[in-house]
């Protein structure tokens, strides 16, 4: 990679992140996040509209198709900012829809006027996305869709391509369950729903990329959770000293920092490799590794964050709790850690010379 390209992505990422600041309060306030909990679909349409207006949904749409044609690094930087702010809007899901549909992404969606979410996952603990077809129509179900009840449209992956269906299509049912972060996790069921299937040559790759981008959301979350915990360690006193002066906590805090830095390095190196041509098994391996690291480092950070906050860590009133709950909800997405290890195990003998 030459210097010019390097600069390109850094500059692009900076612009994207700057624009995302419109969504994530500069002062770090989590009031909106707190207020939105257990309300409606779990997100605000206004904010989706704002994201649309900023062009975020066009990030992964190629320039030839009228998009921004940005890379995974830029998208990861965006996701990181969103994670740091615990933004509940399903922006990444719409970005994935754009990545899948390219020029076919409806203009209303791109502009943020209509909300389109991607419904790809056939079952929990699996990365299967090919289901959802039966007798030439959509049938079956797609799971694990945050905010599903707030969607106007779904981009549905199937073995035969991507279907765009309105949420009120006959035979389509959305159900959802409350999650600990105050959001709602949806399932979309199809009972012979008519839909046009748009061809997409690399659905699996696109979903893999979305899994990587989501790692960056977790990264942002854990970076901020670590920062909040370090602040607490500096000010909270016990036995007449700030608790951050106790060596046992200091050593554990350095471990949290290392976890976060490893996640950051792995995510952006993998994004760079994918941006610069890595695909196939190498990409799958890299993504699985990032998911493993991002989920384990996030859970480690929030576990330690609770412990270091003491009793405050298990209350609803301390902000750290918002990060804990969000981590519980999000770290298991894209199949969970056990699946990642299985994928990596299965890939062990691929490309293995000996």
């Amino acid at each position: 990679m030459d210097g010019a390209m390097q600069e390109d992505w850094v500059e692009n990422a900076r612009m994207i992140v700057d624009s995302a600041r419109a969504i994530v309060p500069a002062d770090g306030s989590l009031d909106r996040v707190r207020r939105l909990r257990a309300k409606g679909a779990g997100f605000e349409r206004d904010v989706m509209a704002q994201a649309g207006a900023l062009g975020l949904f066009l990030m992964r749409v190629g320039e030839e198709a009228g998009g921004l044609g940005l890379g995974l690094r830029e998208t990861c930087e965006l996701a990181r900012v969103l994670g740091g702010g615990l933004v509940p809007e399903p922006i990444l899901s719409t970005i994935l829809a754009g990545r899948l549909l390219q020029g076919a992404l409806p203009e209303t969606v791109a502009a943020g006027e209509a909300v389109m979410l991607t419904a790809w996952q056939d079952a929990p603990r699996s990365l299967d996305w090919q289901g959802g077809l039966g007798g030439g129509r959509l049938s079956g179900r797609k799971v694990a869709i945050p905010g599903a009840e707030g969607a106007d449209l779904f981009a549905v992956t199937t073995a035969a391509g991507v279907a765009v269906v309105p949420a009120d299509a006959p035979g389509l049912t959305v159900t959802a369950e409350p999650t600990l972060d105050g959001g709602r996790l949806g399932t979309v069921a199809f009972d012979g729903v008519e839909a046009e299937l748009l061809p997409c040559p690399d659905i699996g790759a696109a979903i893999g990329e979305a899994g990587l981008v989501h790692c960056a959301y977790l990264l942002g979350l854990s970076e901020r959770a670590l920062a909040i915990t370090l602040d607490y360690l500096r000010v909270r006193e016990q036995f007449g000293r700030p608790i951050g002066s106790f060596q046992a906590l200091q050593h554990r805090a350095t471990e949290m920092k290392i976890e976060v830095e490893l996640a950051r390095a792995a995510i952006f190196a993998t994004a760079r490799r994918l941006d610069t041509g890595t695909g196939g098994d190498a990409a799958r391996r890299g993504i699985a590794r990032c998911r493993l690291r991002a989920s384990s480092s996030t859970m480690r950070v929030v576990r330690e964050a609770i412990q270091m906050h003491g009793a405050m860590g298990i209350t609803d009133e301390a902000d750290i709790g918002l990060f804990v709950c969000k981590a519980m909800v999000e770290t298991g997405f894209f199949g969970g850690a056990a699946l990642q290890r299985r994928i990596l195990s299965d890939l062990l003998d691929q490309g293995d010379a000996a």
Binding site: Q121, P124, R125, V143, A144, E177, P178, T179, L180, D181, L185, E237, Q238, F239, F246, A248, L249, S295, M299, R303, I306, Q307, G310, A311, G313, I314, T315, D316, E317, G321, V324, C325, M328, V329, E330, T331, G332, F333, G335, G336, A337, A338, L339, R341, R342, S345
Partner: protein
């Protein structure tokens, strides 16, 4: 005088407890609940235990207790756990009662013990303060003598189920001129006294499990002190007897493991070799802990003294409980963050287990404070 349960064989005693529990545990109360239930929910069960004379298993029979030996008490606990009985508001039976029996006046015993037995009084504990979580002796809540009253001003926090209580016992500073442990007294305060205010604290599931209690010039009569003035720290520290052992009992870990097994079966990964490799490691740890626990129970049974090393049990149990719950959350994957139990089965609810495991390393002596203590008192490492 009530029955001498210790005269029964262990097997007979167990059968009796089991039969009672199976017959009397209210059908509409949850079993194997992970959350503490409120008094409004658990009251019928408290009253049935009370009516049977079983609400205070460790109190002397002379005071209306069962006076169980450690061995019998363990069986009693076992059978309650086995049926999944909800924990009642037990601060009175477990903490205040034994304390009054040991340190109270005859008048205090006569006044308070019967009302605990009957369920008329529900007690809460007021030890922690906002500035002093791990450092319990850093009490700032103050009690000043004014004529025949103590006048209490200050704040307590992390009072479990405080909103259900009509009485609270607190540690209050009665002498600011001496070293911090030496100027603390143990006081009894009615929750409806003028100047007492309660603010619930929501936990991460947004249940009001704890509360803050504020005291604004609250007056209690002079005889509401237990033990001598400025001797409260000694009393509070000596409070826990058996409890120091039972707080490290493997039951939370064991039941989390059982739930993990059910969850793995329900999730179709019970036969996955990689999962099993992790599972058996945790299962062994639970059994190892149970064996270590048993050595302390043996000591209790034999009347041998329990040393500071017993804190190992609590460290071990709470961290193991958390690690088991971590694996449960991991295998739940996309369903890990659900707010309600899958299929309505609380045992499959990994998130609830995970959250319920968190406070165990914080309350009742944080792991860090216990490790500091072990390093000095047991390992004899220098300060």
């Amino acid at each position: 005088m009530s029955t001498d349960y210790n005269a029964m064989s262990d097997a007979d005693f167990r059968a009796m407890v089991r039969a009672f529990v199976e017959a009397e545990y209210p059908a509409d109360l949850p079993r194997y609940a992970l959350h503490r239930l409120h008094w409004s929910e658990v009251k019928p069960w408290y009253l049935r235990l009370s009516a049977r004379g079983w609400i205070c298993p460790t109190w002397p029979r002379a005071y209306g207790g069962m006076e169980l030996t450690a061995g019998k008490h363990l069986i009693y606990i076992d059978e309650m756990e086995r049926h999944g009985c909800a924990r009642v508001n037990d601060i009175g039976p477990v903490m205040l009662g034994p304390l009054l029996i040991k340190h109270g006046t005859e008048a205090q015993r006569a006044r308070f013990l019967p009302r605990i037995l009957s369920g008329e009084d529900i007690w809460a504990q007021g030890y922690s303060e906002p500035g002093a979580g791990s450092d319990l002796a850093a009490v700032r809540c103050e009690a000043v003598r004014d004529g025949d009253d103590w006048v209490i001003t200050g704040q307590k926090t992390w009072t479990t189920l405080g909103m259900d209580a009509n009485w609270i016992f607190i540690l209050a500073r009665t002498d600011k001129t001496v070293k911090k442990q030496a100027g603390i007294s143990f006081l009894l305060v009615p929750m409806d006294a003028p100047g007492v205010t309660i603010r619930p604290i929501l936990n991460l599931e947004r249940d009001a499990e704890f509360c803050e209690v504020f005291f604004d010039a609250v007056r209690v009569p002079a005889d509401h002190i237990v033990g001598a003035v400025n001797d409260g720290w000694t009393i509070a520290k000596a409070l826990l007897g058996h409890e120091r052992v039972f707080i490290g009992a493997p039951r939370l870990s064991a039941s989390a493991l059982a739930r993990l097994r059910l969850q793995a079966r329900a999730g179709g990964i019970w036969h996955d070799p990689a999962f099993r490799d992790r599972y058996v490691t945790l299962a062994c740890e639970v059994e190892d802990l149970a064996d270590l626990f048993e050595t302390y129970v043996d000591a209790l049974r034999d009347g041998r003294p329990i040393g500071a090393d017993v804190a190992m049990l609590k460290i071990c149990q709470s961290e193991l409980y958390q690690r088991i719950s971590d694996l449960g959350l991991e295998i739940a994957a996309e369903t890990a963050g659900l707010g309600e139990p899958p299929d309505g089965d609380i045992r499959l609810h990994a998130a609830a287990t995970w959250l319920s495991a968190r406070p165990t390393t914080i309350f009742g002596g944080s792991t860090e404070v216990l490790r500091n203590m072990l390093a000095k008192a047991v390992l004899d490492l220098p300060s």
